[in-house]
């Protein structure tokens, strides 16, 4: 088990390294290939009509005139070991993990990421609970009553669910349930949990449900397909033949096997979502990581975009790792196989 975990950890580190390469390529390499010179790139990192002196300073800070390998090395080592920025009178230490420094607001990106994480976390966790419960139970029920009216209605709704853009369902729910019937607060009103748990939940109901609707639809489809596959397997027949009650067969044997792939996908989805449910947060104007990135794009604050992107990637890698380990714990065969 230890060896397995160690191996997965090593794989996770490799994955992280690849992710840094891709992020680096997008933020530093591709623009250069597209014909932007180092001055132009520096200007993009400052935003808002920079002076030549500011460009020179940023160029030096980001090593934009160095060879590409040096730039990459500095980029990665900055993340891992921290960076230093000149405030004019002092050296600002951006401690590891240093997710960059916004030249536009003269602030480190990391604390700002942390500040927005609770919002995105609240959104993701609440929605995940809803969609897992709803999606999986609907999927299981549909599979068990295949062909029934319930199955058909559920699957049709699910298909509609995956076909609806979240920013549309969000707007419709705001129009109906916040504006026309003012049951829920309008977009942009987030209350911190510690401040008032009731207001926190009240304000998040619409985003939760909107987001969960899409994922519940996806998970219901997946669960149903998975259940149909496993319920036809030999070991289920064996279990039935042994005379086990149908309930035990379904929950203990069928569901367990059908859920394993769902867990993998859930890990990925949840990890991605912790990096910001960009569309949901934009639609409901929730001050989370995704909205932070969108605002930064609009305000030409590139270091922030870079920071959020890296942050998200890290979450995905961690989520992957957790899932891998959970997996091995649930299913001993995996340890041997991998």
């Amino acid at each position: 088990m230890i060896r397995y975990i160690f191996r997965r950890l090593a794989a996770g580190v490799v994955l992280l390294l690849v992710v840094t390469m891709v992020v680096f390529a997008i933020f530093f390499l591709v623009p250069r290939l597209a014909g932007i010179d180092s001055d132009g790139l520096a200007a993009r990192y400052i935003g808002k009509s920079p002076s030549p002196e500011a460009i020179a300073a940023v160029k030096e800070r980001l090593n934009l005139d160095e060879p590409i390998t040096v730039q990459y090395w500095e980029f990665v080592s900055g993340l891992v070991m921290g960076q230093e920025y000149d405030s004019g009178t002092d050296i600002i230490h951006c401690d590891a993990p240093c997710f960059g420094y916004s030249f536009k607001t003269n602030t480190e990106v990391w604390p700002q990421l942390l500040e927005r994480l609770p919002v995105t976390g609240s959104l993701a966790i609440g929605a995940a609970v809803i969609w897992l419960v709803a999606g999986v139970s609907i999927g299981v029920l549909s599979a068990l009553r295949r062909g029934s009216l319930l199955d058909r209605a559920a699957m049709m709704t699910a298909l509609a669910g995956v076909s609806l853009p979240i920013f549309f369902t969000g707007l419709v729910s705001l129009a109906l349930l916040s504006y026309y019937w003012p049951i829920f607060p309008p977009g942009g009103s987030y209350t911190d949990f510690t401040e008032n748990p009731l207001a926190w939940a009240h304000g998040l109901v619409l985003p939760w449900v909107t987001l969960a609707f899409l994922y519940a639809a996806m998970y219901a489809r997946l669960t149903r397909a998975g259940m149909l596959d496993t319920m036809g397997e030999d070991f289920i027949r064996t279990a039935r033949a042994k005379g086990l009650p149908e309930r035990t067969v379904v929950t203990k044997h069928g569901l367990r096997a059908a859920l394993t792939p769902i867990i993998t996908i859930f890990g990925l989805d949840f990890g991605l979502m912790l990096g910001g449910a960009v569309l949901t947060e934009s639609t409901f104007s929730l001050p989370g990581l995704g909205k932070f990135a969108v605002d930064a794009i609009r305000g030409s604050d590139l270091p922030v975009v870079l920071g959020v992107t890296m942050f998200t990637a890290v979450f995905v890698v961690i989520a992957n790792l957790v899932v891998d380990v959970l997996y091995a714990w649930v299913d001993p065969r995996v340890r041997v196989g991998a």
Partner: protein
């Protein structure tokens, strides 16, 4: 040149994702395509989806004609429809009338119907092209991984995992943010469309890649491949002449199912303001402008929202039906 398909259906059970490389035995004398078509024709829901897809494709194709008959130029302002102080459309239902079928936009008074019709062009174009990119890369990587196995497979499979882990939307936003307005010999909307097609297509190839890999894995153990190999055929020959033709059906099915995903993705990017440049009409772009008017002009948000929903739903229905028709396991 297509391979004979009269292989016993034993492998089907073992390969849950198996789609349609078999089926010949039961209906001798009919080609796979004919059988699938027969099945598909009976599936009314899928056919309705298919019909809607064809309709939207025609709408996109003949947008100028449709608009000249039923609407107004999509970028033409109709200020007389707008309240000068409030900026909202005058008249009931957001200015809906025989003249403006879906009403007019706040502020500009542009005809929503015409913009929906023109928006279909961008959605369809990017949806199709991006899917094409994914299919080309995905098929290539999937076949290679599945056929050669070993470390090649391990490498490509890992690569696919990594790609699926990327925060795509953020990447797309970042790329549009850092790129200049003219690069790689393209500029303005041509460049934007190229970037969108590239990003959406390039990062989505593992979806196709995984399926093709699975199919190839099962195919390469088949007799006809073994036979070719024992006759001394080169790998390239086997890949091209034996495997690829047998992968056409799954490719078709999963392309049909990838297109709506890509259409949603394009709409999301336009919604976030990093899509095609205005005044070009896009459904996502219209929705993002509708955010400010969700309380006063609901038709402005309903029109593009429903356009996206119905188009994507139609593709999904058709794709599901196509998969069922081509997959012998799911027949009722």
């Amino acid at each position: 040149m297509t391979a004979p398909l009269d292989v016993p259906g034993a492998a089907e059970e073992a390969q849950p994702e198996a789609v349609a490389q078999t089926g010949g035995t039961r209906d001798r004398g009919r080609s796979l395509g004919q059988i699938a078509w027969m099945r598909l024709r009976k599936d009314k829901v899928a056919m309705t989806g298919g019909a809607f897809v064809v309709l939207m494709a025609l709408v996109a194709l003949f947008a100028p004609l449709i608009v000249s008959l039923l609407g107004h130029p999509p970028n033409q302002w109709n200020r007389e429809m707008i309240d000068p102080a409030l900026g909202t459309p005058m008249g009931p239902m957001g200015g809906m009338s025989g003249e403006h079928l879906f009403g007019v936009e706040p502020v500009t008074g542009r005809d929503i119907f015409s913009r929906i019709v023109y928006g279909a062009r961008i959605s369809m174009l990017i949806g199709f092209l991006a899917t094409l990119v994914s299919v080309v890369i995905g098929t290539f990587m999937g076949i290679i991984a599945g056929y050669f196995g070993g470390w090649v497979d391990a490498l490509i499979s890992r690569l696919m995992d990594i790609f699926l882990a990327f925060p795509l939307l953020l990447f797309a936003m970042a790329l549009v943010g850092v790129l200049p307005d003219a690069a790689f010999g393209l500029q303005d909307n041509a460049l934007r469309i190229a970037i969108l097609v590239f990003i959406i297509g390039f990062f989505n190839w593992p979806y196709i890649g995984r399926i093709i890999r699975g199919q190839t894995l099962s195919l390469r153990e088949r007799e006809f491949v073994e036979a070719s190999r024992s006759l001394g055929a080169s790998n390239f020959y086997i890949l091209r002449k034996e495997l690829l033709p047998n992968l056409v059906a799954p490719i078709l099915v999963y392309s049909t199912l990838l297109i709506p995903t890509n259409i949603l993705f394009e709409a999301a990017l336009s919604f976030l303001g990093v899509g095609v440049e205005p005044p070009t009409a896009t459904w996502g772009g219209m929705l993002s402008e509708a955010v400010d008017y969700y309380d006063s002009a609901p038709n402005f948000m309903l029109a593009p929202g429903l356009a996206i929903f119905l188009t994507v739903l139609a593709f999904n229905l058709f794709g599901d039906g196509l998969r069922d028709a081509l997959d012998p396991r799911t027949q009722s």
